[in-house]
């Protein structure tokens, strides 16, 4: 049985950064990913990464913007850590080879992003995430002797020892269908987000919340699960994202009447207000009949010089052309808010440690919580890297001097049996897995979206309960072993249903409006009752058990949030 000091599940930015940090600290490392690491969803990040590196800027300013952006739900101790360490992280990345944009003096150059009081977003054209991910993978190839990379391996469950500590995982080698048990002293979850619970979404097909469900199933708490970000500029139908960088470069939003409607909602920051604010503004325009007939508003970037657009937003030009048939340098493009990011996740401390001993989480799967009620653009890449590194270092530290645990074979047998049962289900024994997935996504996008209310959420919960039942008999077609993606889809559906249930339950519980959670029946923010995190645990029960956790406040008292 393979055994390592540190086992990392997920090879996006958080996972790869953790692997490099743990290896740097002298640990033996395994990193595992259900897709080849460079296919991870981090590559979709277009806009950039925040840091107060400019001498004129300060980490306090960055931290305050983040706190305010979070609608005061972010934990300020964690936000301080992230913003303080950001500049060094950017320099580390630069030295590792990231081809960051330079200004005329040859120094790192920035662009403006929403919710920020300074232009502090560092970028590589509009392929920042891709450039970061590929450069980290270059570093992984460089350190291949210290890091065992298991590419196209799918983790199906975490394993605990008798004391409840996490000591490994069970996974399936996608290439041949074999099941394998891995032991490790520390395990880091870096499995990314859960956007596929919604349809459409800007998230890739692999973002199915696996790690959140794995952690939840062994008793780790999930936090802030009601906080789901809708990005203001996505293409209708496909959900493909137009980066906030576009607005950072100077693009405006118009309704069908030609009004620059952000004047009404955020007279100072206009298009560069926080995402929740802009998304709600758009949704209001659309709901009140001032959108275009296809249920959209217009993003107009034609005022930005064409050369600049082609240089800094080339990917968006391509997306406009290929996925909407529009030359965005010449005409506006129709957009609407679309599900994009989950602020919530597995609850961790500032070292990425979860309350389950030996289990860490970092990146979108985790909730530190630096994003609170709303994540600022370009803060997520930063989150993945800072807390990925910290988790890697801490996990390596924990492993030092520890005896190698031995994950129990029983869990391997359980997983094998469960998978065989799915594969053997008769066609027509129930619904198709894909059907259930579609129903879930469409429903969530209606009932658990920009605007929510009690009735809609109750209905959502009922539907999820039914879908969970149906999933038990849902069938697939593929009975093979090599690249049986069908059976993986069935497992992912199970994860998505767990995560979606937590989303809905948390949204029901929070009877106020804050950040991305807007309750039509409770339209005000209510600090007296709700300046706290909603925490959910499985606890052996059938539905999530609800508790609360205080918000860490260091230097910024909750204030009015206007842009």
């Amino acid at each position: 049985m393979p055994a390592h000091d540190v086992l990392i599940i997920g090879a996006g930015l958080a996972g790869q950064r953790a692997a490099l940090a743990a290896a740097g600290a002298g640990a033996t490392v395994a990193i595992m990913s259900k897709v080849h690491p460079v296919r991870s969803h981090s590559n979709a990040a277009a806009g950039g990464i925040n840091a107060a590196l400019n001498p004129e800027d300060s980490w306090e300013s960055h931290a305050f913007d983040t706190v305010k952006g979070s609608d005061y739900l972010g934990d300020q101790d964690a936000i301080e850590v992230m913003c303080r360490e950001a500049p060094d992280e950017i320099l580390w990345l630069e030295h590792a080879g990231v081809t960051f944009h330079r200004n005329d003096e040859g120094l790192l150059g920035t662009r403006a992003f929403g919710g920020a009081s300074a232009a502090r977003t560092y970028y590589v054209a509009d392929i920042t995430g891709q450039a970061l991910l590929h450069v980290l993978y270059e570093q992984m190839m460089k350190h291949h002797r210290q890091i065992d990379s298991y590419e196209e391996w799918f983790v199906t469950a975490l394993v605990q020892d008798d004391s409840g500590a996490c000591c490994g995982c069970v996974c399936r080698n996608i290439r041949d269908g074999s099941m394998q048990l891995f032991s490790a002293k520390s395990v880091i979850l870096a499995t990314g987000g859960s956007g596929q619970c919604f349809k459409p979404t800007t998230n890739a097909l692999i973002c199915t919340g696996d790690g959140m469900a794995h952690a939840y199933r062994i008793g780790a708490p999930l936090m802030d699960m009601e906080m789901i970000q809708y990005h203001p500029t996505t293409l209708s139908g496909t959900g493909i994202l137009i980066t906030e960088g576009a607005r950072g470069e100077g693009a405006h939003l118009y309704n069908a009447l030609g009004e620059r409607f952000m004047e009404k909602y955020a007279p100072n920051k206009m298009e560069l207000a926080s995402r929740d604010v802009v998304s709600r503004a758009e949704q209001t325009e659309i709901n009140e009949g001032r959108g275009f007939p296809d249920g959209t508003v217009a993003l107009d970037i034609t005022k930005v010089p064409r050369k600049r657009t082609l240089e800094a937003l080339r990917e968006i030009v391509n997306i406009g052309r290929d996925f909407a048939g529009v030359d965005i340098t010449r005409e506006p493009i129709h957009i609407l808010p679309g599900q994009h990011y989950i602020m919530g996740g597995v609850k961790t401390d500032v070292w990425g440690a979860t309350p389950v001993p030996g289990l860490y989480a970092a990146g979108e799967v985790a909730c530190v919580s630096v994003h609170g009620g709303n994540r600022l653009g370009a803060n997520s890449l930063l989150d993945t890297l800072i807390f990925g590194r910290r988790a890697g270092e801490h996990a390596a530290e924990r492993a030092r001097g520890m005896r190698m645990p031995k994950a129990s074979e029983a869990s391997l047998q359980d997983e094998r049996r469960a998978i065989n049962a799915i594969v053997r289900r008769e066609r027509g024994s129930g619904r198709r897995v894909s059907e259930i997935k579609l129903e879930l996504g469409t429903m969530m996008n209606q009932n658990c979206a920009v605007y929510r209310d009690h009735e809609g959420l109750m209905e959502a919960h009922e539907i999820i309960r039914r879908l969970k039942e149906e999933a038990k008999t849902a069938y697939i077609d593929d009975r093979g072993t090599v690249f049986n993606q069908d059976v993986l889809g069935a497992l992912e559906l199970g994860y998505m249903l767990d995560v979606a249930e937590c989303n809905v339950v948390a949204a029901l519980v929070r009877r106020e409006s804050r950040g991305a959670q807007y309750r039509l029946d409770f339209p005000e923010r209510n600090d007296a009752d709700w300046l706290k995190h909603v925490v959910l645990t499985a606890d052996g029960a059938d539905v999530p058990k609800i508790s609360a956790s205080p918000v860490a406040i260091t230097q910024w008292q909750p204030g009015v949030r206007s842009y």
Binding site: V38, H101, N103, T110, D478
Partner: protein, 371 residues
């Protein structure tokens, strides 16, 4: 919604049966992608169809396949345009070439593509001393290598590389584009060693036959062949690295030939490539090439009269081009990453940065979001 027929190459190692074609009908909008079609097949008809996919937006590099015989990203190919190139109204989808098939449309990228990437020391070897803050480098240099950084490692170029078909050991387009990402990076300290390595490897950068397939195949505009040409130019021009295949001199012979004659004068070309008619190296080369010359004569590609006389003198236009180029203080690499720009009379667009002090950065004052 219109219907499209997708003819998919199926192969399952589980059954051991030979690969076969299977037709599926999907109904989707014309602007939807071939991947949308494949996913619909999987969702509604047959969940066992194997294809890697994730982002659906041409960014993760998972879904490289051959569509109607040509390499493409399935998510980046509209059904309508695939129908247009299909000939008989049936869109064929099969796995990429030059790599072993694992199942249906899934190929073994590790065995070929990634092995080659790992061959080119694919990480930055920092030039010393490593600065405390960022390396100060020209903005243009970062933009320039962004073209090869734009590579998503999809393998489409590898699929149809002609040289690789003949020589499977050829390092290949994607890996060489990756190599240029370091050779073009002023922060890398190993330029000469990298270039020497790529030059000395018999399957290295001189193995490319300029077939253009990789440029055509690449969905991200990386233009691997161009990066290979730049590697070669830098190797010879900046580091005096000799090319065993004589490619560099051959290229220069072309240039000199055109400069002199205005049109290509074949008879001079070969000896020029070897340093002139009377260079000792030219003799064996000329003798070795006799069959080719004779063939060319027979096909009237070259006439005897033309071969011996000099009917052309370079016209003034050609001379002028050469003059302009020669007067350039340094060689300019053509960066194709930023394409489609026109000379528009626009005020220079100020860029923000750590040094410009203003918090509004590069957004001009009249649309500053922070005002």
């Amino acid at each position: 919604m219109p219907e499209y027929v997708l003819r998919i190459r199926r192969y399952s190692p589980d059954t051991g049966a030979a690969a076969r074609w299977q037709d599926f009908t999907v109904d989707l909008e014309p602007h939807q992608s071939v991947l949308d079609g494949l996913l619909q097949i999987r969702d509604r008809q047959d969940g066992s169809v194997g294809i890697r996919s994730s982002c659906q937006a041409a960014i993760c590099g998972s879904c490289g396949v051959r569509i109607n015989g040509r390499p493409h990203l399935a998510c980046h190919t509209h059904l309508e345009s695939a129908l247009g190139t299909s000939g008989d109204g049936i869109i064929t989808v099969e796995p990429m070439g030059n790599m072993p098939v694992l199942k249906d449309l899934i190929v073994d990228m590790d065995a070929v593509h990634w092995k080659k990437i790992k061959r080119v020391t694919p990480w930055l070897v920092n030039s010393e001393p490593v600065p405390e803050r960022e390396y100060v480098v020209p903005a243009q240099s970062m933009l320039d290598i962004t073209q090869s950084m734009a590579c998503i490692q999809c393998g489409c170029c590898v699929s149809d590389c002609l040289s690789m078909e003949v020589d499977p050991l050829f390092i290949g387009p994607a890996a060489l584009a990756k190599a240029y990402r370091f050779v073009g990076d002023p922060r890398d300290g190993e330029h000469p060693a990298r270039l020497k390595d790529l030059a000395q490897d018999p399957h290295g950068m001189y193995d490319c036959t300029h077939c253009f397939n990789c440029i055509e195949a690449c969905p991200k505009g990386v233009a691997p062949m161009n990066q290979i040409m730049r590697l070669r130019r830098i190797a010879s021009a900046d580091y005096g690295i000799e090319d065993d295949n004589n490619g560099y001199r051959h290229e220069h012979a072309f240039v000199r030939n055109i400069e002199r004659n205005g049109l290509l004068h074949e008879a001079d070309l070969l000896p020029d490539s070897y340093g002139g008619k009377f260079h000792p190296r030219a003799v064996p080369a000329l003798v070795g090439s006799l069959p080719a010359i004779v063939k060319a004569l027979m096909r009237r590609k070259v006439t005897l009269g033309k071969a011996l006389g000099h009917p052309h003198k370079a016209p003034d236009d050609v001379k002028r081009i050469f003059k302009v180029v020669h007067q350039r203080p340094e060689r300019r690499e053509l960066n194709l990453y930023v394409t489609g720009t026109e000379d528009e009379d626009e005020p220079t667009y100020a860029r923000g940065g750590p040094t410009d002090g203003s918090s509004a950065g590069h957004t001009p004052a009249e649309r500053s979001p922070n005002a």
